[in-house]
Amino acid sequence: MGSRLYAVLFLFYLHVGEEQTLDWLTEDRFLVADAAYPLKKWILKPYPGRKVKQPERTFNKCLSRARQTIERSFGMLVKQWRIIKHGLDCSEAVNHRIIMTCCCLHNLIRKDGVDYSQPIGEEEVAGSPINIREYLYSKLHEDGMLNIIASDDAKAADRAGRYRRNLECDALRMEGVFWD
């Protein structure tokens, strides 16, 4: 573990490999996952259980807010490219390629910036009914309440994140386990 040569060789091996994931997952950066994944320094998952106290609870909220992106993108993938929903009935290699092409096309659509939130084929009706939730939010925004809430939340989240990471580091140090 300590030898530099081995580390350099390993780096080279990763660099040569097809998927170069080293560049963006370094230092203190992390991924967000749900409860099914293992807890690591670079994978953060929510605190388990229903009765979670305040700093952890806001942290969980933030995590789920970040996790929305992947859930939404999977939903879009399944809804747009219907073959994934119906099921794939080809050989294994072709199935793999179908999934990859669907993901590539999804990326292309996302990069183009087309608004797919509105349903296809339905024109906008002038004078649509007011969304109550939006209205309330706008009221709150006018009063300046929302900003305060958001800033408070952000502070709490930062605190919780630091807290959680310190906890993790402590646990790792206590057990002396780095490899599993």
């Binding site: 390993f10 994931t21 933030c62 859930e71 119906h86 990859m100």
Partner: protein
């Protein structure tokens, strides 16, 4: 045949100390192989001769040669019909309105053109044989997009006037081209910084560079490993999404029976995550 080969190999292994013996054995083995092949060739030749005799007999009896009497005019007629069908399909494609186009192919016209421009050299063949027509690249791409959007192969092959086998060939070609031209590349260090900022605006978490999750996709293979905990055979798709919902990383190595926590251990992400510790211990 197999038994003979095995015996000769065993003999080779036993007598490997003596080079001369080895050579002799080798020659013998080659001779045996040659003998077998000749026997097969003879059998095949006899079969072809019998076939030709049968053909001559039928010609004499009925006065009709199926190989020679090919109706060229009928071929030409069929060809022109196909060309007309292709032209019609292209015409319909160009006449579609924007909304209908998006309904059918799930992309806007502009994105369609962009994809087409970048993959046409990979799809089209460089030369044509004799009088053969070629399905235009536009229709190849349209048929594959329609297939991915949920169309059945039977309907597609009838609409674009191709046989089912050729449709599958086109699909494979186009899918390879798309994967080659627009690959899913993990972001660089600088791009990751922007991603982290976007995530911070979204969720107030600093230094978050992606959200990871698994999706089970139904497949036809029905081995024991393919069955998930939900009861159907599937493939486990591991994906990492950025702040705008685009994929940064996609992996489909695992069967459906593999849980998410195990699936990430297989991918190269696991090693990359541990590289943090490597850096810490070796260079600091």
């Amino acid at each position: 045949m197999n038994r003979r080969v095995l015996i000769t190999f065993i003999l080779l292994c036993l007598q490997s100390t003596m080079n001369i013996a080895l050579l002799v054995q080798n020659q013998e083995f080659l001779l045996l192989y040659d003998f077998e092949r000749r026997k097969n060739l003879k059998k095949r030749a006899r079969k072809t001769i019998e076939d030709s005799l049968q053909l001559t007999r039928t010609i004499v009896e009925s006065g009709y040669n199926p190989n020679m009497a090919r109706d060229r005019t009928r071929d030409k007629k069929r060809k022109t019909e196909k060309m007309e069908k292709i032209a019609k399909a292209e015409d319909e494609l160009s006449k579609l309105s924007d909304i209908d186009f998006r309904k059918k192919y799930r992309v806007t016209k502009q994105i369609f053109e962009n994809i087409l421009n970048s993959i046409t050299p990979l799809i089209t063949t460089q030369y044509r044989f004799g009088g053969r027509y070629q399905v235009p690249a536009r229709l190849k791409l349209a048929s594959t997009l329609r297939y991915l959007a949920g169309g059945s192969y039977l309907d597609i092959s009838s609409i674009y006037s191709t046989s089912q086998r050729t449709f599958y060939n086109h699909r494979d070609l186009v899918m390879d081209a798309i994967i080659q031209c627009f690959p899913i590349v993990p972001p660089t260090r600088l791009e990751a910084r922007d991603i982290a900022e976007n995530f911070k605006q979204k969720s107030d978490l600093s230094c978050c560079v992606g959200a990871i999750d698994g999706l089970l996709i139904r497949v036809n293979q029905k081995r024991k490993d393919d069955y998930t905990r939900k009861g159907f055979p599937a493939v486990n798709l591991q994906g990492i999404a950025g702040p705008n919902g685009e994929f940064l990383y996609v992996n489909t190595q695992c069967y459906g029976s593999v849980p998410d926590g195990q699936a990430i251990r297989v991918s190269c992400l696991w090693e990359a995550g541990y590289m943090q510790f490597y850096f810490y211990f070796t260079f600091m």
